[in-house]
């Protein structure tokens, strides 16, 4: 038998054994695997019933990359982990649509389209049925229902209105598709808003470099850095409309030089992020790395962002200070 064939079949067999092992898992996390192998495994995880959450993380010098695929229909039960907001009712009108006002010692923190439930309402007891109701025209101390309350009992007193957390379904793409069409990126730094597409390209180039050369670029080797730039340019040319105008060779050079180094603060930070993503995959609590809104919030108000960001900022800044800080002093 041809030697290549036998190697190939051993590989296939190994993969089958691996897949059986993965099928026993809820989440699998991969570090240091090629995109080729990763796509193969992710295809399996994505189409498995029930889907197996797939996470790929890599740290190369001062660069890090993370990919999540929690399956075609992943439900987030609680997007932000915050306590549901509530208010105390002051009055409810008998009209179409019903108008609810609340006591004015604390502003309501609802948003249009939120679902709420009523409890302990006296008089208009129809509202105490525990059914979630959609609200609109939300003002600091009032909102309207999408419901005709004219035939209900007359409001007397009391009542609490509480927000109901709405589950959210996310449709993750398999790695194979996401690589070609990554969509929006989760921004880590607003001063680097153009960086993610470049890094997306750069990490693919690095992956191709290592599979072609059988190793990562050497630190300080201009030759290796040049090779990486060439690969990146080549991949970029094939992107058609999604092509980047400028392949930043300086940045690629940094990636090449540091690609063999795993730095402790980077490992700590990505360890923290991955750990948090695993918790999200298993619990359905907190929004996974998937959507913009939660994260933007996290930045602007310095609130509302998952623990995943904890080690991330703490430690990236720790390295920052210990490296650049000492430089500047």
């Amino acid at each position: 038998m041809d030697e290549n064939v036998s190697t190939k079949s051993t590989e296939c067999l190994a993969l089958v054994v691996d897949f059986f092992f993965f099928s026993l898992m809820q989440v699998v996390v991969f570090v240091d695997i090629s995109f080729e192998k990763a796509t193969e495994i992710d295809d399996y995880c994505h189409s498995h019933q029930p889907p197996i959450a797939f996470i790929k993380a890599d740290v190369r010098g001062l660069f890090g990359s993370l990919f999540c695929d929690f399956g075609p229909h992943f439900t987030v039960l609680d997007v932000d982990g915050e306590e549901p907001h509530s208010g105390i009712i002051a009055s409810v009108s008998n009209e179409n649509p019903g108008f609810v006002s609340c006591v004015d010692d604390e502003r309501l923190e609802f948003e249009d389209g939120n679902l709420v439930v009523f409890s302990e309402v006296e008089g208009m007891t129809e509202l105490n049925d525990g059914k979630p109701r959609k609200i609109k025209n939300v003002k600091p101390f009032s909102f309207t229902l999408e419901e005709d309350t004219s035939s209900y009992g007359q409001y007397m007193k009391g009542g609490i209105v509480t927000q109901v957390k709405q589950p959210k379904v996310l449709n993750f793409k398999p790695l194979r598709e996401a690589l070609k069409d990554p969509g929006d990126f989760l921004l880590s730094d607003f001063s680097k808003f153009d960086r993610p597409p470049l890094l997306h390209l750069a990490f693919q180039a690095l992956d191709r470099f290592s599979s072609q050369a059988g190793r990562f670029p050497f630190a300080g080797s201009e030759e290796d850095a040049q090779k990486l730039v060439e690969i990146a340019v080549d991949i970029n040319e094939g992107l058609g409309d999604a092509r980047l105008e400028d392949v930043n060779s300086k940045l690629l050079r940094h990636l090449a030089f540091g690609s063999r180094a795993v730095l402790n603060p980077m490992a700590a930070m990505f360890g923290g992020i991955v750990g948090q993503e695993v918790v999200k995959a298993c619990s359905g609590k907190f929004h996974p790395i998937f959507q913009v809104k939660t994260f933007l919030f996290g930045f602007s108000g310095a609130h509302l962002f998952g623990l995943c960001m904890l080690n991330f900022y703490l430690l990236s800044n720790a390295v920052h200070l210990c490296y650049t800080g000492i430089y500047s002093t």
């Binding site: 660069f63 990359s65 996401a178 990126f185 630190a219 700590a268 962002f305 430089y327 002093t329």
Partner: protein, 301 residues
């Protein structure tokens, strides 16, 4: 949005370094040296660092500093201080501690563990709270000798104090904090960034005490009221009673000199506890609790 990329190229030295800087030295720091150069590695090793606090953040920082080789050189020194002792509930996140460390000083145990990670680490553990009252320990020469300060604190007062010292002595400060799933971090570099105290968080929502006591009308008020009632009945009054019992003469003397309305109130409660509502057995306690409950939750309403 399934990809997340991060880079910290700004951490690199601004000026290009000579290729010899990156040459491996067959040391545990070779990866770090290959990125930042041996000059920076030397600086890290000779840094004099002050880590304030050895809790959840403190443990993370000490581990990282030890792994990076910070304060592991002949000139380097790391000082960590924390006046707290280890409790069982700390073990879920303060990973330098083990269950046999319960009851021991956090800073000492954390320092020993960090030194176990890197035996070159020159670490000094103290049990002093950092504040105006310990300026004899953390004196001018202590501050002047520091390279960098890392806060790992759990309260704003101490943060502001350390910040003010850092401003005074022109030392860079790494500030961070966590709350549940939220966190923040800030880097303060003298003459480059604003300091920690320059911006303040908006005040937290809090019910005014007078509302709580006379008209607790929403759930938060009621909870605050109940807490305050609980503390008064089961913590403050018993403490007063014990103070009286341990030294009645001294206690009476102190009360006489205080002589304000609050002292009268306190005395009233002490008398109540020792005379009218004195509990001698567990049964008495149950009776007392039942009557108190009925008074607070029923009669008064």
């Amino acid at each position: 949005m399934q990809f997340f990329y991060f880079d910290s190229v700004e951490s690199l030295p601004k000026e290009p370094l000579d290729a010899s800087e990156f040459r491996p030295q067959n040391s545990r720091y070779d990866a770090q040296i290959s990125v930042f150069g041996s000059t920076l590695q030397k600086k890290l090793e000779d840094a004099r660092v002050f880590v304030v606090g050895a809790g959840a953040l403190g443990c993370e920082f000490l581990k990282n500093l030890a792994l990076m080789g910070v304060s592991c050189g002949t000139q380097g020194k790391l000082t960590v201080t924390d006046d707290d002792v280890i409790e069982k509930s700390n073990l879920s996140r303060q990973f330098l501690f083990r269950d046999w460390n319960i009851g021991q000083a956090k800073s000492t145990v954390a320092a020993t563990a960090a030194a176990g990670i890197n035996s070159r680490l020159n670490i000094d553990a103290l049990q002093n709270r950092v504040g105006p009252e310990t300026e004899n320990v953390f004196d001018d020469s202590f501050w002047e000798n520091l390279t960098v300060v890392v806060n790992a604190l759990d309260n704003v007062t101490a943060r502001l104090y350390v910040d003010s010292r850092c401003v005074y002595f022109q030392k860079p400060l790494l500030e961070s904090g966590t709350l549940g799933a939220k966190c923040n971090t800030q880097m303060v570099i003298p003459h480059l960034t604003e300091n920690y105290g320059a911006s303040r968080d908006p005040p937290e929502k809090q019910a005014p005490m007078c509302t709580v006591h006379s008209f607790p009308h929403n759930i938060d008020h009621c909870l605050t009221w109940a807490r305050s009632e609980f503390e008064g009945l089961l913590e403050k009054t018993p403490a007063e009673v014990n103070a009286y019992l341990s030294d009645p003469v001294e206690y009476m003397k102190a009360m006489r000199t205080a002589g304000d309305a609050q002292a009268r109130d306190t005395l009233g409660r002490v008398v109540e506890c020792l005379e009218k509502e004195k509990c001698n057995s567990f049964q008495d306690c149950i009776t007392w609790a039942r009557l108190r409950y009925s008074l607070l939750a029923h009669t008064l309403h």
